[in-house]
Point group: C2
Chain length 343, copies 2
DNA sequence: ATGAAAGCGCTAACAC
DNA sequence: GTGTTAGCGCTTTCAT
């Protein structure tokens, strides 16, 4: 509404002139140096405050070789021009923001093409940020390894993989897949669909848990029941509709996000099948909507707030020059109506 | 995992030395100056790329007096140490991130105490960001006015108020309140509870719409039906439980967020009342969960993606030195089962 | 207790 | 076409 500041931004010289002292005195005063006479210090402080002067951090950082900015990178599908929409991504970004704020760091939120995760390194190379938190490995474990190999301080939300040079923090995906699938089997499900793109490491680990649970039960995995859909609801719905239409028999669904699970529910209903009576459904993430949905979702809970703290602490550990071991955070199944306990 | 870079960060001098030229040549080459011989330019480019060198933006910005960083400020309740959790805030942050990325700006995500919105101005004063987008006016219209008066480039998501010096972008809250309440009246509701803290301007405007709709219908507003709850589910649930227990008669609820609406639904059910048969409920925001919830929510849709674009464009207008007029974005009621059309 | 001056990494006159 | 040099706004020796 009001038009902008043509008023050149104040700088230390201005304060110095107004206070009738030199810039070094202002600098020292503003930084609380005890070298400066307490009352001049106070006077300069007052003056600066009354003029809303604030030290230029760009210049200060350059001089001090410091920087308190961490980049949080949310990859996106450039082809689909897909926007940040999955609530899980948004809430983990919120959790990281909280953790960084608590520790006095600034957060630069960036989006990069999921096919070029390595391009995030420019944020570090250019000094915009002193470290990177990347949300998800996507399909580029190798690029992340390369970044770590050239000593870019980076922590990744995702699964722990063999031959991993970077620090990852993630939920226990195998355990999540295992618990979800075991629960469905225990309910008596015999043919359980797996919804998620196993080219993503996290999903692949959940898929391992799924297969392991099937193996325990002596059940054969059926490739026709694996739906390699991305974290994107339109595609998920289409794939589920197709599965329903195909005539392939199934009585359970394990979906790799709550949103995917709810799309499955809708597709099933559209096909005239009841949840959980005909088909039980288990989701992943335990976002708030899982509580309110119809039916409330049985889902694998991910500790989002803890995730934010762990990601940040791991990165700060790296920045201190220490090694940061990958962390696998506990997950647990939350029982609700989409797949209740067997009666 | 891997430990950090003790390797001092490369700088232009290093590239210059390795290329056997002066820093100015490197600078020009890297900035694509045609003054430089095409092949030396290419050679230097290759060298820099192969070493992952990237111009130090802190220094560059200092020299060029430029900066492409916009701060997005999410206020929070410091007393409650409440975290970013309302899905609406998170999704508008996502929308702003998309809009800024498209336009080549960096986004600094900051949290400030909702009682000290003016503290966000330091981000500008210190040169961290060239402009501010603040999510919500909260209870400090005056602080925002002060910031605008001293020419801080700021745009606020929120309602348009009288005597407003800053640029706001927001949904049409009066229309939203009007449509929601009219719809409930049209269904035959006679006693409609209003759930939301009218000390917040946006909520107050919705409340105006609510009162206007009641007036149109010749209905008397009853203060006992106004629940001044914050955007926080625990408090909302408690207030709704209390209303149910109080014996105050009501047959409709207009809640100022979808999350509040769903808490109302849960409280009503706990009190043995059906939605929408006994009490119809209308929410606000039209977040994804409104589609999936039980019952799906009739709610006022806010154009989140558009909001991101408008906020960013308004700020860029200010930064260009032009005036940016406040914008009120259209909202519309989405009919679902929590308050279906009258039969 | 305060000031003068050098320099953080970069760019852009101004030389040659 | 390329090098030399003077700052961008700040902190910090080193003087006084």
């Amino acid at each position: 509404m009001t038009s902008p500041s043509e008023a050149k931004r104040l700088q230390m010289t201005d304060i110095a002139r107004l206070a009738g002292v030199s810039v070094s005195t202002v600098s020292r005063a503003l930084n609380g140096s005890t070298l400066i006479n307490a009352e001049t210090r106070e006077r300069i402080g007052q003056l600066a405050r009354s003029l809303n002067y604030s030290i230029n951090l760009g210049a200060q950082n350059l001089r001090l070789q410091k920087n308190q900015t961490i980049a949080v990178v949310v990859p996106y599908d450039a082809q689909a021009r897909q926007h940040i929409s999955d609530p899980f991504f948004l809430s983990i970004v919120g959790a990281i923001a909280d953790a960084l704020t608590d520790r006095g760091y600034d957060m630069l939120l960036s989006r990069v093409d999921a096919e070029r995760l390595d391009s995030a390194a420019t944020l570090y190379d250019s000094g915009k940020a002193i470290g990177l938190i990347i949300i998800g490995q996507w399909r580029h474990h190798d690029q992340l390894n390369d970044m770590a190999a050239r000593k870019v301080p980076v922590v990744v939300w995702g699964g722990q993989l063999p031959q991993q040079l970077y620090c990852s923090v993630g939920g226990d995906n195998v355990a999540g897949g295992l618990q979800a699938t075991r629960h469905l089997l225990q309910r008596g499900c015999r043919r359980i669909a797996f919804v998620g793109d196993a080219r993503l490491p996290e999903v692949d680990l959940r898929h391992q848990g799924y297969r392991q649970a099937l193996a325990e039960a002596g059940s054969q995995p059926d490739p026709a029941l694996v739906l390699p859909v991305p974290f994107e609801i339109i595609a998920a719905r289409a794939a589920m509709d197709q599965l329903c239409a195909s005539g392939t028999a199934f009585d359970g669904v394990f979906a790799c996000s709550d949103l995917l699970a709810l799309q499955a529910v809708q597709a099933l209903r559209a096909a005239g099948r009841q949840v959980p009576a005909d088909v039980a459904v288990v989701g992943y993430d335990d976002m708030p909507l899982a509580t309110y949905s119809d039916p409330p979702l049985t889902t694998v809970h991910q500790p989002v707030a803890l995730a934010g703290v762990e990601l940040v602490d791991a990165l700060l550990t790296l920045l201190r020059g220490e090694r940061a071991a990958p962390r696998v955070l506990p997950v647990h199944l939350v029982l609700r109506d989409s797949a209740p306990l067997p009666v």
